[in-house]
């Protein structure tokens, strides 16, 4: 299963916590529109160049428009990009095609047009159903707008709608977070992603924290919110299939799963990453340079690395634990690595503590285990590797 990712690097404005690459109009609408046009023509060139390469001739099961705010693009442009992808790559007719959408950028008519352009999954950046939270996060929409956007997506015929929510906001109470979860499930999403607010360097939020304008929630409150989330969504019929991702039966994101399964993916657009045959490579994270490269007929790659077998195993462990479990058979088949033999004592310790379960040749975290995902993954990786590898 292979996936296509398109990074659409435009936003109405930058939110204080976001460190993804994107540009905002900053008052100069005309210049901004020109930039969007240049980007779209560069993106077409990039798709054609990757097609001409020939190495990426695979069957693709998912397409994901991420950003940025891809829902700012005119639906007709999204349709043109999809047509080009279908013409140049073998995209399955039942492919999952996701558009990250921000409330406040779409109405029923636009959603209808996105759907007829071929989009069949909406990932909605709701973040919170409380206007105070939204104001703090500097989102452009209100809670009421978010709800009406969800209803419009439903009217437009989207069966598969995912919500992004953020918890652990400074001064957020557990009750308020629970109320967010309640309002979310009342709107009947098919999928929910809940992320703990991370203070990323080079964001306005980082500066606010540094200058002590706001203080992050204590770790134990964050953990409590996370546990509440898992329990709440489980009792409301959502299966946790990754640290932050929850789905109703039949609605796991195939695109997300392909990342966590270490499948091939090909990324387009500034800052987009790709992973193919053990090689990871990425594009320039600057829209002007990106477009200039492509205008000259050159790929806008700014770096890449061939992963060693040890790195690949390590990633399998990290990604597997994050999601639906480490595939022990796959490790043996691809890397001749028997994890149960090399780290069995650690694995058994975790199993005794009810953090890990062995289920049909997969080593999976329990809901309790998800809380300690990173620690468990590091322990397994360190215990299983010969020491010198880390000095290479």
């Amino acid at each position: 299963m292979s996936s296509l990712y398109l990074h659409i690097p435009f936003c109405d404005h930058k939110c204080i916590y976001c460190d993804f690459y994107s540009v905002a109009p900053n008052g100069n609408k005309e210049k901004f529109d020109g930039l969007v046009d240049r980007f779209l023509s560069a993106l077409r060139t990039e798709i054609e160049l990757r097609h001409a390469d020939g190495r990426f001739n695979a069957e693709y099961s998912t397409i994901f428009f991420g950003g940025g705010t891809p829902s700012l693009l005119p639906p007709s442009k999204v349709g043109e990009i999809l047509d080009l992808l279908h013409a140049k790559f073998r995209v399955r007719s039942d492919a999952e095609i996701t558009l990250e959408t921000n409330p406040g950028t779409v109405d029923l008519e636009r959603l209808r047009e996105f759907r007829s352009a071929g989009v069949n999954r909406i990932s909605m950046g709701i973040q919170s159903f409380h206007d105070d939270d939204l104001k703090f996060l500097s989102r452009i929409h209100t809670a009421e707008q978010a709800k009406s956007c969800v209803r419009d997506a439903f009217r437009a015929g989207f069966e598969n709608v995912s919500f992004d929510l953020i918890f652990s906001l400074p001064s957020q109470s557990l009750q308020r977070w629970e109320s967010n979860l309640q309002q979310a499930v009342a709107l009947e999403p098919s999928h929910v992603s809940c992320y703990s607010l991370i203070v990323e360097p080079n964001t306005p939020l980082y500066k606010m924290v540094e200058s002590k304008q706001v203080s992050p929630l204590p770790e134990n409150v964050d953990a409590e919110m996370y546990e509440t989330t898992i329990e709440f969504l489980r009792t409301h019929g959502f299966e946790q299939y990754e640290v932050s991702n929850f789905a109703r039966p039949g609605f796991k994101s195939r695109h997300n799963l392909s990342y966590w399964n270490h499948d091939h993916y090909l990324g387009f657009g500034p800052s987009a990453h790709s992973f193919w045959d053990g090689r990871r490579f990425w594009n320039i994270a600057n829209i002007v340079n990106y477009s200039e490269f492509l205008n000259r007929g050159q790929l806008p790659e700014s770096g890449g690395e061939d992963l060693t077998e040890e790195q690949l195993v390590e990633e399998e462990i990290f990604l597997g634990l994050r999601s639906e479990g480490i595939d022990l058979k796959k490790l043996r088949r691809l890397y001749r690595k028997d994890l149960m033999a090399s780290v069995s004592s650690r694995v058994n310790e975790f199993r005794e503590q009810n953090l890990l379960v062995l289920d049909q040749e997969r080593l999976r975290l329990t809901s309790k285990g998800y809380l300690l995902c990173d620690e468990i993954a590091s322990t397994l990786v360190l215990a299983g590797m010969p020491g010198e590898m880390y000095y290479k």
């Binding site: 209808r112 437009a156 069966e159 039966p249």
Partner: protein, 318 residues
Amino acid sequence: MGTCGDIDSLSMDSNELTRSESEMAGDPVLDKPQVVRRSWREYFRTVVLTLLVALLIKAFVIEAFRIPSGSMEETLLIGDFLLVNKFAYWIRMPRYVPLTKIELSSLTIPLFKDIRHGDVVVFEFPHLDAEYARSSGAHYIKRCIGLPADTVVMFGNEVFINGNRLSLPPHAKQNGSVSHWQQNQRLFPAVSRFSDGRYGPIIVPKKGDTISLDPYTIYHWRWMITQEGHTITLDEEKKILLDGQRTDSYVIQQNYYFVLGDNRDNSLDSRYWGFVPENNIIGEALMVYWSWNPEISVGSIGEKLGSVRWDRIGTIIK
């Protein structure tokens, strides 16, 4: 001309299906001796020919039906008699040899008109599981809402087709705002979380569509796949077996339609039992040719005749 069969629009309250005995209208038997004497052979020939023409017309062109339930109110009323144009969309071999139960192989020649949104169609009820087994094969009348590949959504009182709002037909009935947001287990498909106030989105299957199957979605599709003559099961590893072969997808073999009764709050329709296969569609409702109160017995003929709704006779069904 033609036999007059019962048609059921399957309302919530009168779910009972009754098929009255067929009676020939336009009886070809002559009741007075003719002045010019003809041989019995000639009589016989006239009778047979008339019968034949009647049967052919009934088989291919027009059939008469009676409305026994209120699910299409007030486009159609209980006691309306209709003519149904079987020639509207195609010429199709009748399912049975006329007057018998001998099945014929199916053959359909499409004509110029396709089924459109809003057409009032008569169809044979599809063969479904236990709950609707008694209705199987009976005739129903509903309004076509979703065509193959359409996405149907109902939100509150509104119907959306591919995101476009479909307005309520002029004589349709709908109470105030629908506000039942609790999941309704009776709605189709059984594995959905649909409620009366929030139904869909649901995609109407189209011939040639590939659908992906997983242990969850097969519950949604199983009856259609079975209807198309295949068996679908899960093996011990929870993998899907189609006719005994492992698969994760299926190609739909015929077109389907999503239908609703005009009496939106009192109609058992696609919301409850699913899609109508194209092969089951008999024709398009044409006009009301007779209408009276069905509750008055024909014994009290004067009263019965007094109940005739003259204004409805000749009404074109829209």
